[in-house]
Amino acid sequence: MAHSDTDVDHTAHGQSMGLLRVLGPAHVWALGVGIVLVGEYMGWNFAVGKGGAYAALIACWFAGILYSCVAMIDSEVTSTVAAAGGQYTQAKHIIGPLMAFNVGLYLVFAYTMLEAGNAITLGFLVDTVAGMTGHEGGLDQRPFIVLAIMFLAWLNYRGVLATLTFNLVITAIAFVAIITIFLATSPLLGAGEMLHKDLMSGQASLPYGWLGILAAMHFGLWYYLGIEGTTQAAEEVRSPARSLPFGTLAGIMTLLIAATLTWYVCSGLMPWEYLGDGVNGAVAPLFSAAQISGSSALVWLLGIGTLFATLASANGCINDASRAWFSMGRDHYLPAWFGAVHPVYRTPYRAIIFLVPIALIFALGAPLDQVITFSILSGLLGYTFMPINMIMFRKKWPLDTIKRGYEHPLHPLPAISLMALCSVTYFAVFLGYGTQLIAMIGFYIVVSLWFHFWRYRFVKRADQFTMPWPRPRGY
């Protein structure tokens, strides 16, 4: 196992310390898919509620195109920026400190809200299983939510290799559970219980018309949200130029398959009104699909799959959010106290601990769809940054000036497609959740002004550019 250090960092105790390079491509896959796979187990079905089942499928595929663009763009830039913080570090080198500060916050809030959503789902699952096994009156879900977040934070505190190896195993099991329910319920091998024709006929086909397809893009992102998190591990991967593009692109392919199978199974078993209500109806739709199938083996398998998917996702979210927070602390965009590495476990332990109560505030105090929307909005702002970032990257450092580990094809088509899909998704969020959209942008405007006019004075200028790149063209 390689233990070579990366960028040297200084702890609060004055010791030279860096994150450990111990991860391979399988861990990168596990980090990306582990965070996202829960999107098939909960949350995506709000897209059905916003436009009907067909709209959710179209949203699934269009969001898949959006994320394929994200993965391609991200892979090229990250194959040259092998440092913790992922898109944050990219923004710092390519656009500037304020953009980097905003991107860091997008990452922290997208992942912390996703973590909160996972904990809410886990609480629901425990409550449901208690009811199935004879408990009456419902459980208090809060202790389970708190315990899950605390346990995973502890795991992250102790070390990244154990954390992501844990993710690799439970993500694989959750993925196999999706394949199993598909095979068991589809005509391929199983009883062929699918009822798409009848469940999606008449008013159920497109209940909101074409506007519903646009609206469904809002939660369509949830099928894949977080795959870009693979770049957060850049500083802890043994061979970033090879492992990151491989792990990320394999991850998006895995998710495209899982998302389509999930839609097929769930929309073929449940009326769209129930499936689309993720608060009072199908909170965990694959689990509900297993219940309706009548097979107790599937119920247990998908129950375990849901549990593992939520744990894997929350685990990866803690990993990614803390790396982004740590990076900002290290650069003094936030108080430098957060930029410390644990002297024994070599993890960003202060960032990990600090974000625990933030996740708990949202997990215990806000409804699931609001938490998911908050996460999606932060993710969406990050995706809007990516095409801008890519175009500037190619302009400032054309292909002949920096060697890339991976060059994405057809530039600038992926960047333009990504920007167009992001614009559609803003409109989709506006349909029904416009107040939150404005509140969120208002928050980022205020913190941007706070950073530019106050916080930036504590930032060392030249230290923001650490890559061995030549001077950017035009500067």
Binding site: G49, K50, I95, G96, P97, L98, A100, N102, L195, D198, L199, G202, Q203, A204, P207, Y208, L211, G212, P271, E273, Y274, D277, N280, G294, H332, L334, P335, I358, F362, A366, D369, Q370, V371, F427, F430, L431, G432, Y433, T435, Q436, I438, I441, G442, F443, I445, V446, V447, S448, W450, H452, R455, Y456, F458, K460, R461, A462, Q464, F465, R471, Y475
Partner: protein, 126 residues
């Protein structure tokens, strides 16, 4: 270019900065919730004496509703009739576009000012 030496921030200053960020971020989600402005207007449209037919449900749908624990149309009424209200004003759409575009333009301009300082100090003045 002379190297910029940032001031050292006091511990109290660091704590205040963190509190400001936490208050702003929690406020961004919870203020709309507390004011009752967040989320969509997905409300049930009441149907008098609902039957499965009057709710637009065919026999296969009814069979699945029964499996999901809804024995009659009344029990599923609220879920089946709930709809989002997608009506919107063009003015509010224009405001949203202006806010989003304005945010990114502001951020890129301010970032560019800061970035030029970074590059000048890193690579020297041109």
């Amino acid at each position: 270019m002379a190297r910029y030496v940032p001031p050292v921030q006091s511990k109290l200053g660091q704590i205040i900065d963190v509190i400001v960020l936490v208050v702003l971020s929690v406020g961004a989600l919870f203020v709309p919730l507390w004011l009752g402005l967040a989320g969509s207007a997905k409300l049930p449209v009441p149907v008098e004496n609902p039957t499965w037919e009057s709710l637009g449900q065919n026999p296969v749908m009814v069979q699945q509703w029964n499996k999901l624990g809804f024995p009659d149309a009344a029990s599923a009424h609220d879920m089946i009739t709930a709809r989002y209200d997608y009506s919107f004003s063009w003015v509010s759409l224009a405001v949203m576009v202006i806010v989003i575009v304005g945010y990114f333009v502001m951020m890129i301009r301010f970032s560019d000012i800061e970035y030029r300082e970074v590059i000048a100090e890193k690579f020297g003045e041109k």
